[in-house]
């Protein structure tokens, strides 16, 4: 089983076979997290650096746990406490880290393209943990893993992604991944949140939640950022919730065995009503569990000596 890549920067460039390899490998890592001793020696002596320029508890903790469960040494660097505050450029930070010889650098950054810049500059493997509005490959992989585990397949499923599509890396990565695996994807949100020409990505576009989720197998709700209100992207959270909140009122439009997903953190009552978030359709917590397995799988597949 070979993943012939130095880096995981996005879903767009992955082939269907590569995605299957990652998902299958992730499946076998689930069991480790259920053991008494949640550790295997596989990455013993390897160093994984989590370089997070954007605040994140969920993703960073997930990567940290993934590394530690594989017995790797994981180091967390968050930009606010590092030399970045002193004005060090991304490139200099990367070169300094490279000189300390880690094996994998996981980077989250608010500027699209930052991981690509890094990957071209340092010899270590780079995993993109989210770059601006561009891609969040590990999120899409864990989302697909969750759907596959519940539905047994990804082909010919109808998936609706709802929310601020324009600013969402989760949306983009999932669109690439789900389409590659044969699913149908619809996006929905206020017109101001639909990016230009997105139909060219092969998705159907809706400006109403009810339209988008009719008879779907999976609903993926995205997080709304309050700051967008000040950019006149939407008038108020109240109005957004009235039009786009997933709740008991509209969930029945989807299939009876619909899956409700959210990358987190949830704005309860804005994107999803609390009873749906905690209810029987929700697989939000499975997503989190699968996230650790997917990240373990990637660390496992990317590391190793060169033959």
């Amino acid at each position: 089983m070979i993943l012939e890549r130095k880096d995981i920067l996005g879903i767009k460039e992955l082939s269907k076979d590569e995605i299957l390899l990652i998902l299958d490998t992730a499946d076998s890592f689930i069991e480790i997290s259920t053991r008494e001793i949640k550790k295997v020696p596989t990455l013993r002596g390897k160093t994984v650096i989590n370089l997070f320029y954007e605040a994140s508890t969920r993703t960073r903790t997930s990567f940290e746990i993934a590394g530690k469960r594989l017995s790797a040494d994981t180091i967390n660097i968050s930009a606010s406490t590092s030399s970045v505050v002193k004005g060090e450029t991304l490139l200099d930070t990367a070169r300094n880290l490279e000189a300390m010889n880690p094996d994998v650098i996981v980077i989250r950054h608010s500027a699209a393209g930052a991981p690509h810049m890094l990957a071209g500059m340092v010899r270590q493997s780079i995993i993109n943990a989210g770059d601006g509005a561009h891609e969040h490959p590990t999120q899409a992989l864990l989302d697909m893993m969750t759907i596959r585990a519940k539905k047994g397949r990804l082909e010919n499923l109808n998936v609706a992604i709802v929310g601020d599509i324009a600013h969402s890396r989760v949306a983009r990565s999932n669109i690439y991944g789900l389409k590659k695996m044969g699913a149908q994807v619809a996006v929905a949100g206020p017109a101001t949140m639909i990016p230009r020409d997105i139909e060219q990505m092969g998705v159907s576009v809706h400006s109403s939640l009810d339209e988008a989720i009719k008879e779907v197998d999976v609903i993926m709700m995205l997080r709304i950022q309050i700051e967008r209100q000040h950019q006149n992207i939407f008038p108020s959270l109240r109005e957004y919730a009235q039009r786009f909140c997933l709740s008991k009122k509209n969930i029945s439009l989807a299939k009876k065995d619909v899956l409700v997903m959210h990358p987190g953190p949830i704005n309860r009552g804005v994107e999803i009503s609390p009873d749906i978030a905690d209810g029987p359709y929700s697989v939000i917590l499975d997503q989190v569990t699968n996230g650790v397995a997917v990240r373990m799988a990637l660390l496992y597949l990317l590391t190793g000596g060169k033959a």
Binding site: M1, V40, K306
Partner: protein, 182 residues
């Protein structure tokens, strides 16, 4: 590429060896108390299942059995980028204070068994670990020995000893393949 296959054990021979091993396990452990069988993926799984059935036929009770995948504990993973496929590990019971009989098809360098023992220790603290193998072909690289052996088969390093089982290969036989590699 020359390919001379020699069948050194047929279906009957395998069955008789497994029957003998089943009796030996019961004799050495004075019964089934706290005994569990753990088959090492892949060949060991089917042998463990067969042993479980034979023991059940003798004692009337089934000993619990589990499956162990040792891939993540191997000592040669960092050698290449070629990552072996990881199979599922399924041990649904506690190993604390149990008598664990590890089951594998071929004992060779001993490294797989070393990895298996490291994995077992992570699952709990067995009272003791014993090893049952169908074939012991020598060439140990670590101080590991089997408690129960179906057949001792001295072999040369150029030979490939292959245990074929009906469950996965459609036939029961142990074959030595001597091929000169290009």
């Amino acid at each position: 590429m020359k390919n001379k296959n020699r069948v050194v054990m047929d279906a009957e021979g395998i069955d008789r060896s497994l029957t003998r091993i089943a009796y030996e396990i019961l004799e050495k452990n004075k019964g089934l108390d706290d005994l569990v069988l753990i088959g090492i993926r892949t060949g060991g799984i089917y042998l463990a299942n067969r042993l479980q059935r034979k023991i059940a036929a003798i004692e009337g009770i089934e000993a619990p059995s589990g499956i162990l995948d040792v891939t993540l504990y191997r000592d040669d993973l960092q050698k290449t980028n070629k990552k072996p496929r990881i199979g599922k590990t399924d041990i649904a019971f506690s190993l604390d204070d149990r008598k664990v009989v590890l089951v594998d098809d071929v004992l060779f360098t001993g490294r797989t068994i070393r990895a298996a023992m490291d994995a077992l220790i992570d699952f709990g603290r067995p009272r003791l670990i014993q090893l049952a193998v169908l074939i012991d072909r020598g060439h140990r690289e670590l101080p590991i020995r089997a408690d129960f052996v179906g057949k001792n088969l001295p072999s040369s390093l150029w030979e490939d000893v292959s245990v074929k089982l009906t469950e996965k290969d459609g036939v029961d036989e142990v074959v030595i393949e001597m091929d000169s590699e290009e």
